[in-house]
């Protein structure tokens, strides 16, 4: 009897959690100014890691080795970055080492993949966890400079 109650409660909670996660997953949310972390410190950390930023925008993706959606995110963001020469997609492996983990904590990254969109000064504009919605990323990046020849 106890087992039946535990079973029903567990499935209900898991289903509720799943629905919430599904609705939030990949949503690109604008970063409020108060939540934005110090751009200068961030730029210094990125430089120390050898991460090259885009002239206008940087699509900073955090990935882990055990992560299938990270691959989908990589494909999507690389595709978006290809549409604009001043936008760069860079990927940080959170498991690579302590400097990477320091960056993860600095930006308070909790899941992989998480994408942080930075402006030319390293100021955070928006972020998304999960595979970002393409149209929401494009809304920030803007229209491509040249007509895009897509392979899809």
């Amino acid at each position: 009897m106890t087992g039946l109650v535990v079973l029903v409660v567990t499935l209900l909670l898991a289903a509720a959690a799943g629905l919430v996660l599904r609705s939030r997953n990949g949503q690109v949310r604008a970063t409020r100014e108060a939540a934005s972390t110090g751009a200068a410190a961030l730029v210094a950390q990125l430089d120390a890691l050898g991460v090259e930023r885009g002239e206008r925008l940087t699509l900073l993706q955090f990935s882990s080795p055990f992560c299938a959606p990270c691959r989908a995110t990589r494909t999507l963001l690389a595709d978006v970055a290809r549409t604009a020469p001043d936008v760069r997609h860079v990927e940080v492996d959170v498991a690579a080492g302590d400097p990477e983990l320091a960056l993860v904590r600095h930006l308070d990254i909790r899941r992989t993949p998480t994408t942080v969109i930075l402006d030319s000064h390293g100021e955070e504009l928006a972020r998304a966890s999960g595979v970002p919605r393409r149209e929401q990323v494009l809304a920030i990046v803007g229209p491509p400079e040249t007509p895009q020849v897509s392979g899809r």
Binding site: T2, A15, A68, V87, V94, D98
Partner: protein
């Protein structure tokens, strides 16, 4: 890491079987049958975590029984994420078996319920709990080694600022 991709429906099928098995474990909790069934599921997890999802019992079941009757696979995935999840499942299943075996039924129920929640989230939503735990575990262990995240590597930061940008996007 570079193992051959697997049909995405394989691990998803395995998650459904795991969900059903763990549900039966909860319904029969406290009986020897329930404990033995959870122990068998623990063995399944161990095999999946060590040999990979392709050779895991439910993976073999999928390829022998179901895959030949289904349409050819259209989507593939890296087998590492589900393999990592099997390792996480092993921990919960072993704790659950020990709990039931020594008579700590609440411990057994809680561990089984957590494993069930993870399997169900994977089966119904394709949500990989193992992946989520991976980064949080890394952050937790690293914080223990480096208690002050704000002052990491100040001497390695580059004074060159934003001069490192290069025009264009590398292929």
């Amino acid at each position: 890491m570079s193992a051959a991709p697997v049909d995405v429906r394989g691990p998803r099928f395995g998650a459904w079987v795991t969900t059903i098995v763990l549900a039966v474990v909860l319904l029969t909790a406290g009986s020897p049958f329930g404990t033995v069934l959870l122990a068998l599921q623990a063995v399944v997890f161990v095999v999946g975590a060590t040999l990979g999802v392709r050779r895991a019992p439910y993976g073999v079941l999928f390829r022998w029984l179901l895959a030949p009757r289904l349409a050819p696979p259209t989507a593939f995935e890296d087998p590492e994420p589900p393999r990592f999840a099997q390792a996480v499942g092993t921990v919960f299943a072993v704790v659950g078996v020990l709990g039931f075996a020594v008579g700590w039924t609440p411990v057994g129920l809680a561990a089984t319920a957590l494993a069930l929640a993870a399997a169900f989230l994977n089966a119904a939503f394709g949500f990989c709990l193992g992946c989520e735990l991976y980064l949080l575990q890394r952050r937790a262990t690293s914080r223990w080694r480096h208690p002050d995240p704000a002052t990491t590597d100040p001497d390695t930061t580059s004074p060159t600022g934003k001069s490192a940008t290069r025009r264009g996007v590398a292929a």
